[in-house]
C-alpha cells in the first residue's frame, strides 16, 4: 500500500513540479518558435506516457500484492496486446519526429539574402566581423594571424579591406534582420549560444560552421560558451544587443574597418595589394 502510494506521489509530484516550477525558459527572442512548440508537443506526449506507466504500475503493486493463497496468472505471451502497443508507440514516435524534422529542415536551410557575419571564438573570448560596405566577408587563413591581424584576414583579398572588426565580447545586431552566423574557432572547440535565441552550433578550428536566425525582440542577451573549451570555459561570456535601426547605426559608425585598424597601427602597407585590386574592381 505504502509503496503504491509513493509511486503515485513520485509520478504526480513530477507533474506538479512541471506545472509550478518557476525555472522555465526565458521568453524567446528569435524566430525559432518552432523549437519551443516541438518541445511542448514532446512534453504532452511523453508526459502522458510517463503518467500512464507510473499509475498503472502503482495500480498493479496495490492490486496484486503477494498473497500466499493466490497464484499469478500464467500467460507467457499475448501477441495481440504486444502488437497493439508496438503500433501505438510507433504512431507516437512519428508524431514527435515529423514536426521535429520540419523545424530542422528550416534550421539547415539558410534563407536567401541573410546578412552574413562572422563570430570567432578563442580561449576565452569572442570576436566578431561584419562584411562592411561591399557586403562580402573577406577570406581568412589561420596562418595570417598576428597582433595586427587577429582575424587572419587575407591581405590580398579586396573584400577584406572594408570588413568591420569587433575585437570585443559584445555584439550589436539589428532587430528583424535575418543573420547567418559564420562560426570560426582559432584554437579549440567553442559554441556560440544565446539561450533566448535557442539556436547553437559548435565552432570548430579548421572549418567554418554556421547557423541562422532572426532576432525578433530588442534587448540585451547573454552569450554563453556551450562547448567545453578548457579552464576558462565558464568565463567565456558576452552580450548580444538587439537594437532598433537608429541605435544600431550609431554603434556601427563607431566601429573600425580592417583598413582603419591597420592605419591606426601604422601598418597600412600590409594591405597595399588588396587596396590596388579593390580599385581595379
Amino acid at each position: 500500500m505504502i509503496v503504491a502510494v509513493l509511486v503515485v506521489l513520485v509520478t504526480l509530484g513530477s507533474v506538479a513540479f512541471h506545472m509550478w516550477s518557476p525555472w522555465w525558459w526565458s521568453e524567446i527572442a528569435s524566430n525559432w518558435v518552432g523549437m519551443d512548440d516541438t518541445i511542448i508537443l514532446t512534453f504532452w506526449i511523453t508526459g502522458a506516457v510517463f503518467v500512464a506507466i507510473g499509475l498503472f504500475m502503482a495500480y498493479c503493486i496495490w492490486k496484486y500484492k503477494y498473497n500466499k493463497d493466490k497464484r499469478a496468472d500464467y500467460e507467457p505471451e499475448n501477441s495481440k496486446l504486444e502488437w497493439a502497443l508496438t503500433i501505438i508507440t510507433t504512431i507516437g514516435v512519428i508524431a514527435l519526429l515529423a514536426p521535429g524534422l520540419i523545424v530542422w529542415k528550416n534550421f539547415v536551410t539558410v534563407p536567401k539574402g541573410a546578412y552574413e557575419i562572422e563570430v570567432v571564438g578563442q580561449q576565452w573570448y569572442w570576436m566578431y566581423r561584419l562584411p562592411g560596405k561591399d557586403g562580402v566577408l573577406g577570406t581568412t587563413d589561420i596562418k595570417n594571424i598576428n597582433d595586427d591581424n587577429p582575424f587572419g584576414l587575407n591581405t590580398d583579398d579586396p573584400h577584406s579591406v572594408d570588413d568591420i572588426l569587433i575585437d570585443a565580447d559584445d555584439l550589436h545586431i539589428l532587430k528583424d534582420q535575418t543573420l547567418k552566423l559564420n562560426l570560426r574557432a582559432l584554437d579549440v572547440l567553442h559554441d556560440f549560444y544565446v539561450p533566448q535565441f535557442r539556436a547553437k552550433m559548435d565552432m570548430v578550428p579548421g572549418m567554418i560552421t554556421y547557423y541562422w536566425f532572426t532576432p525578433i525582440k530588442t534587448g540585451t542577451f547573454e552569450i554563453l560558451c556551450a562547448e567545453y573549451c578548457g579552464t576558462g570555459h565558464y568565463s567565456m561570456l558576452g552580450y548580444v544587443i538587439v537594437d532598433e535601426e537608429e541605435d544600431y547605426n550609431e554603434w556601427l559608425s563607431e566601429q573600425m574597418t580592417f583598413e582603419e585598424t591597420l592605419a591606426s597601427n601604422g601598418k597600412s602597407d600590409l594591405i597595399k595589394i588588396a587596396l590596388n585590386k579593390k580599385n581595379d574592381l
Partner: protein
C-alpha cells in the same frame, strides 16, 4: 570430469538433447595465491572485478560530492577551475567505464554466466584470470594520473581534441591525458579477453537442454552488451592511439592548424570532428553496454519477485538484439550541433527515434509482468520498480534530445546531464543495488539486513530522483554544463542558487547512505540471517547448485539438464508456484506449462 558420467541421464525417459561440447577439465588451485589472487574460478574473478570497480567508483562518487559542493556552496571547499574540470572528467570516465562497464560485464558477467547457462566455468579460465589483472592494471594507471605533475586530465570524459591535448586544459600538456589514454587502451585489451570468454561460453558451453531461447534474460542482456563492446571498444582504442600520436609525435589526425594563446602550433590538416565520430561510435553503444545487462537483470528480478513469468519473453529477446544492432547507427545524435554536415541530422534523428520503439516494448513488458502477478515487495523488487520509474523518465527525455531540432536548444545544458544520469547513471545503479540484494544469499549464503536495506532503498531512490528531476528545468533555462562557477545568467527567469543547493544536499545524502549499504554488506556477510538453498524460490540454474555458495566447478558431480525456460512461475496445475529449469516434465506431470 569424465564424459561417461552423463550416460544414465541420457537414458531418462524425458527427452534430452545430446552433449555438444565435452566436459571441461578445471584448474584446481594449489596454493593461497592461485586460490584468491590469480584465481581461475569465474565466481572469484567476478568478485574481484566488482570490488575493484566499486573501489575506483568511490573516487567517482567523492568527486561528484566535491563538484556539487563547488556548484552550490562555492568556497566551502576551496578549488580552482582546473581542479573542478579534473573532477568532472575523472568522475564521468570512472563512472561509465571503470565502474559500470566493469561491474556489469566483468562482475555480474563472470559470476552469473557459467552458473546460469549450466557450465562449470568460463571456457578459457586462464585468459579470464589475466583479463581481470589487465583491468586492474588499467585502474592503477588511471589512479596514477592523480600523482603526476599537472594532475589528471580535465578534458571532459569525451576527451575532445584539440582541447584535450593543448595547454588550456588541465593535464593537456602534461602526463594526465597520456595516462588516461593509455589506461583506456589497457582497459580495452583486458576487456577483450574477458568479452570473448563471455560470448564463447554462452554460445558453446551451455548445458544440455539449455537452448538459446531458454536462457534467462540476464544472460541475453550481458551477451548482447558484450558483443556490442567487442565491436565498439576498438573505435575508442584507435581514437586513443591516434590522439596519443598527435600528442607525443606531433601527427595531425585530429589537429587542424591552430593558434593557441597567440602561438601557432605545428599541427595542420587534421579533423576534430573525426575524433568525435570515432568517440561516439564507441560512446553510444557504451550507453547500451551499461543498459542492456541492466535490462536483462531487472527482467529476472521482476519475474522472480512477482512470481510470474516474464511477459513476452521472445519479444524481450528480440528487443534486446534489435536495440543492440540499432545502437550502432545512432551515434551522431551526440553531434547534432557539433558542426558536422547538418543534413546528417535527418538520418540520425530518425534512427534514434526508431530505437524508442523496442525500448518502449521492454518497459511495457516489465509492467505487464507485474500485472496480474503475485508481487512480493522484497528489496530487489523495490529497486526494480524504482528502476522502471527512473528509466522511463530518462528514456522519455531521450525523445527530446534525439529529435534533432529539440536538441539544438538543450544540448550542452543541464538537461543533458539530467537525462544521461537518469538513464545510464541512476537506472543501472538501481539495478546493481537490487541485484546485490538478490544474489547476496547465493554469494555468501546469508541475507542482507532487511531494515537497513529498506532505509538504503528509500533514501537512494527518492534522493537520486530529487537530484536529477529538477535538474532538467535548469536545462530548459539554458544553464550550460561544465561551468565551474555558480552561474546566475542575466536573463534567467528565476534564481538557480536555491535549487542547486537543494540538489547538492540531496546528492550528499544519497551518497552517504551508500556507506550504510557497505556496512550492511560487511556485517551481513558474517552475521546475516542464513538463507539456505534457493531462498527466493527462483527457477534459474544458479540457485540449483548442490552447495550454497556454489563451489569451484559449480554443479558438483553432474551438470544439470535443462527442460524448460527460466520463467515457469505459477504454472497452473503445479503444486508449487515455481518449476526450476532442471525439473523434468515427468516430475511435474500435472503442470500445464506452455513453453518448455
Amino acid at each position: 570430469m569424465a564424459a561417461d558420467s552423463y550416460d544414465d541421464v541420457a537414458k531418462n525417459k524425458d527427452s534430452i538433447p545430446s552433449l555438444e561440447v565435452p566436459p571441461q577439465d578445471l584448474y584446481h588451485a594449489k596454493s593461497w595465491w592461485t586460490k584468491y589472487i590469480f584465481c581461475q574460478d569465474a565466481k572469484v574473478i567476478g568478485i574481484q572485478y566488482a570490488l575493484t570497480a566499486v573501489a575506483i567508483g568511490m573516487v567517482g562518487l567523492v568527486s561528484s560530492w566535491l563538484m556539487r559542493m563547488q556548484i552550490a556552496f562555492p568556497g566551502v571547499i576551496p578549488m580552482e577551475a582546473g581542479a573542478y574540470y579534473q573532477l568532472v572528467t575523472m568522475h564521468g570516465m570512472i563512472m561509465v567505464v571503470y565502474l559500470l562497464t566493469a561491474l556489469f560485464l566483468g562482475g555480474f558477467g563472470n559470476f552469473l554466466i557459467p552458473l546460469m547457462v549450466g557450465a562449470r566455468d568460463m571456457v578459457f579460465p586462464y585468459v579470464n584470470m589475466v583479463s581481470f589483472w589487465v583491468f586492474f592494471l588499467a585502474v592503477i594507471i588511471l589512479a596514477a594520473s592523480y600523482f603526476v605533475p599537472g594532475g589528471p586530465t580535465g578534458a571532459g570524459w569525451t576527451l575532445y581534441p584539440p582541447q584535450a591535448i593543448t595547454s588550456g586544459t588541465p593535464g593537456g600538456d602534461g602526463l594526465g591525458i597520456v595516462l588516461m589514454l593509455v589506461s583506456l587502451a589497457v582497459f580495452v585489451i583486458g576487456f577483450t579477453m574477458g568479452g570473448l570468454n563471455y560470448v564463447i561460453t554462452i554460445l558453446q558451453a551451455r548445458t544440455r537442454g539449455m537452448t538459446l531461447m531458454r536462457l534467462p534474460l540476464t544472460v541475453w542482456g550481458i551477451f548482447t552488451a558484450t558483443v556490442l563492446a567487442l565491436f565498439a571498444f576498438p573505435a575508442l582504442f584507435v581514437a586513443g592511439i591516434m590522439m596519443t600520436l598527435d600528442n607525443m609525435l606531433g601527427t595531425s589526425f585530429f589537429m587542424p592548424a591552430i593558434v593557441e594563446f597567440g602561438e601557432r602550433l605545428t599541427y595542420d590538416g587534421g579533423s576534430p570532428i573525426l575524433f568525435q565520430h570515432l568517440f561516439w561510435f564507441f560512446g553510444h553503444p557504451e550507453v547500451y553496454i551499461v543498459a542492456l545487462p541492466a535490462f536483462g537483470i531487472v527482467s529476472d528480478l521482476i519475474s522472480v519477485h512477482a512470481r510470474k513469468n516474464i511477459f513476452g519473453y521472445r519479444m524481450m529477446v528480440w528487443a534486446i538484439v534489435v536495440i543492440g544492432a540499432l545502437s550502432f547507427i545512432v551515434w551522431a545524435h551526440h553531434m547534432y550541433v557539433a558542426g558536422m554536415n547538418p543534413w546528417f541530422g535527418f538520418f540520425f534523428a530518425t534512427t534514434t527515434l526508431i530505437i524508442a520503439v523496442p525500448t518502449a516494448i521492454k518497459v511495457y513488458n516489465w509492467v505487464l509482468t507485474l500485472w496480474r502477478g503475485n508481487i512480493k515487495l522484497t528489496i530487489p523488487m523495490l529497486f526494480a520498480i524504482a528502476f522502471i520509474i527512473t528509466f522511463v523518465n530518462g528514456g522519455l527525455t531521450g525523445l527530446f534530445l534525439g529529435n534533432v531540432a529539440v536538441d539544438v536548444p538543450l544540448s550542452d545544458t543541464y538537461f543533458v546531464v539530467a537525462h544521461f544520469h537518469m538513464v545510464m547513471g541512476i537506472a543501472p545503479v538501481l539495478v546493481i543495488l537490487g541485484s546485490i540484494y538478490h544474489w547476496f544469499p547465493l554469494i555468501t549464503g546469508r541475507f542482507l539486513n532487511e531494515r537497513l536495506g529498506r532505509i538504503h532503498f528509500w533514501v537512494t531512490f527518492i534522493g537520486s530522483y530529487s537530484i536529477y528531476f529538477p535538474m532538467h528545468y535548469l536545462g530548459f533555462m539554458g544553464v550550460t554544463r561544465r561551468y565551474f562557477e555558480v552561474f546566475e545568467g542575466d536573463n534567467f527567469t528565476y534564481s538557480i542558487i536555491g535549487i542547486n543547493q537543494f540538489i547538492t544536499v540531496a546528492a550528499l545524502i544519497t551518497g552517504a547512505v551508500q556507506f550504510l549499504f557497505f556496512y550492511n554488506i560487511i556485517v551481513s556477510s558474517k552475521f546475516g540471517k542464513k538463507a539456505g538453498k534457493n531462498p527466493w524460490k527462483a527457477c534459474s540454474l544458479e540457485w540449483q547448485t548442490p552447495d550454497v555458495p556454489p563451489t569451484h566447478g559449480n554443479f558438483g558431480k553432474e551438470l544439470p539438464v535443462v527442460y524448460r525456460w527460466a520463467y515457469d512461475y505459477s504454472v497452473p496445475g503445479a503444486d508449487k508456484d515455481y518449476i526450476t529449469q532442471d525439473t523434468p516434465p515427468s516430475a511435474v506431470a500435472n503442470a500445464k506449462a506452455e513453453q518448455t
